[in-house]
């Protein structure tokens, strides 16, 4: 069984962001980078599927500059077998259609039985790439899954809907799943596995060899939202803060009276 997992490296969302000089994306300097949270579940599900079926080979694919190799190494240490790094220093400027086309161009000659992606990235948050990849490849796809079982080529997944409701959806492999938070419990790479990961194949492919389409949309400007104001910001000594909060609550709410 051949499995593909797509991962993106994103900034930690607690970072202090700045808009870059071009004014269309954030400045990458000084940002702590990590694996997109949704993709951690995708990697874990792929590795669990491999463990279940035994005979399987898991490829991890990531598009970006050299720094994404760090994130790929984590996925390899979690149990993926090989990595394909699509080298692209301007991947951040590509739209979801371009990114999906790159992945599909790579995948089309590899006859993967299962593809896992995150349901969205934490930075762009378009929630399109996974479904687009499947559509380009003409493959079934189930988005936003929170439960996954595989039996004899048959997938049974639970899609998460609003308000806690879930839809039970079945598909036959080959199929693509976009993974939602809470799908499983992503493992921590152990030291021996981190060492082993260093020896795993990590192939580099130039993006130009895979990209055959043009962007369908463009970001014209990136900026900080206007602060709507109104709220009181308290900083400094915790003891003072406690008193201030209590005074405001007494003053402005029916609580504590």
């Amino acid at each position: 069984m051949k499995i593909l997992v797509c991962v993106k490296q994103v900034p930690d969302m607690e970072s202090k962001f700045r808009v870059n000089d071009g004014g269309k994306w954030y400045d990458e300097a000084d940002l702590a980078l990590r694996m997109n949270e949704y993709d951690e579940y995708a990697v874990e599900q792929a590795v669990q599927l491999k463990e279940q079926v035994g005979e399987a080979d898991v490829t991890i694919l990531s598009i970006g500059s050299d720094r994404v190799k760090e994130t790929m190494k984590k996925a390899l240490a979690m149990g993926c077998d090989r990595g394909v790094h699509v080298v692209d220093d301007t991947s951040y400027a590509k739209d979801p259609f371009e990114i999906a086309s790159i992945i599909a161009a790579f995948a089309k000659d590899h006859s993967f039985d299962m593809i896992f992606t995150g349901m969205q990235s934490q930075d762009r948050g378009s929630a399109q790439v996974g479904v687009l990849v499947a559509e380009i490849l003409g493959m079934s796809s189930i988005s936003t899954i929170v439960e996954f079982t595989f039996d004899n080529g048959q997938v049974t997944a639970r899609r998460e809907l609003e308000g806690g409701l879930k839809a039970i959806v079945k598909a036959k492999a080959p199929a693509l799943m976009t993974c939602q938070l809470g799908l499983n419990t992503p493992r921590y790479p152990t030291l021996p596995n981190i060492m082993k990961a260093k020896k795993k194949e990590l192939l580099s492919v130039e993006v130009a060899t895979l990209l055959q389409v043009d962007a369908v949309q463009e970001t014209t400007r990136m900026y900080f939202p206007e602060k709507k104001g109104g709220g009181i910001v308290l900083e400094g000594d915790v003891g003072n803060m406690v008193n201030e909060i209590i005074n405001i609550l007494k003053d402005k709410t029916g609580v504590l009276t």
Binding site: S143, V216, R221
Partner: protein
């Protein structure tokens, strides 16, 4: 401009979010037609053409058939914009349609300014203005971003549509929401724990503050996903919607999916080490502090009152 609005039906009911699509068309001054796979006994109040397919025949989740019918309607109506809710139905179907139309899809739109679609980025810390380069554009709208000024009204002109496209995946029914446990929707005071609590043991700290205030404790999704507390305490899109008098968010960044569940709270206190956390946008008080210090101190003080 002409728009095609893709209404939404779930578990036997027309969703109120359908009217947010109408509000969006109104706001941008566009004409509209609507597409809905629903039930004839429960149609939207809407003045315009409603391309309608029966949900009993095409099911609530059958992306292939829904896409096929949409493509026919798009061919007939030639809309410049096809508008979905950014919901589990919309973000699943929209990219399928966009690809078939070779159209750009712009996700989670919150505004339309000078021809630019405005979308949040990086957990709402930043915004982007986006322009489509294709003649037709598919958009999904963030829940709650657009609202009708008045009550919905009107009666649609039905145009029935059909397809013989077969499903690629099989929808085998719903799994109901887990019932029982606490009912946060009735709580007057809620103190919620976010990922910022750091470890499961710190739930107790949050529960203690809730108890001192005579309220209940809730949680954000990562806390529930990590099984630090049970699902019926989760506040947000995929959890409960609450409207207490006081909501204290401890170590919660303020992602839109969380805000949707608690923005009707009368008064919001946020405790967060990050001064720029988006929760600050809707908080009445943002206390920039380590919750592990502030929460116990606040609890002690309240107990001593």
């Amino acid at each position: 401009m002409k728009t095609l609005l893709v209404g939404e039906y779930r578990d036997g009911k027309l969703l109120g979010s359908t009217y947010e699509l109408v509000a969006f068309a109104e706001k941008i001054g566009a004409d509209s037609a609507m597409f809905l796979v629903g039930r004839e006994s429960d149609l939207p109040q809407y003045n315009g053409i409603l391309y309608f397919a029966d949900i009993l025949k095409y099911s609530e989740f059958n992306p292939t058939a829904h896409k096929q019918m949409l493509l026919e309607v798009v061919a007939k109506e030639q809309p410049e914009m096809i508008v979905f809710s950014h919901s589990s139905y919309g973000w699943d179907l929209a990219p399928r349609l966009a690809l078939a139309l070779k159209a750009a899809q712009v996700s989670e739109v919150i505004d339309f300014v000078d021809g630019n679609l405005v979308v949040p980025t990086c957990n709402s810390k930043l915004r982007r203005d986006v322009k489509s380069k294709t003649a037709q554009t598919v958009v999904t709208l963030q829940g709650g971003a657009f609202g009708l000024s008045g009550e919905p009204s009107g009666a649609p002109t039905l145009v029935k549509i059909e397809t013989d496209a077969t499903a690629q995946v099989e929808f085998a029914g719903y799994e109901a929401v887990e019932k029982g446990g606490v009912d946060l929707s009735k709580a007057e005071i809620i103190v919620s724990a976010g990922r910022g609590i750091g470890k499961p043991e710190n739930i107790e700290m949050i529960a203690n503050l809730a108890q001192a205030l005579g309220g209940e404790y809730g949680a954000s999704r990562p806390v529930v996903d990590a099984e630090w507390t049970e699902h019926n305490r989760q506040v947000g899109t995929t959890g409960q919607t609450v409207s207490p008098k006081l909501y204290i968010a401890c170590g919660i960044s303020g992602a839109i999916q969380h805000l949707v569940g608690m923005k009707k709270s009368e008064f919001v206190v946020a405790i967060n080490t990050d001064r720029d956390a988006p929760i600050g946008e809707i908080a009445d008080i943002l206390a920039v502090a380590d919750l592990k210090e502030l929460v116990p101190a606040l609890t002690e003080k309240i107990k001593s009152l």
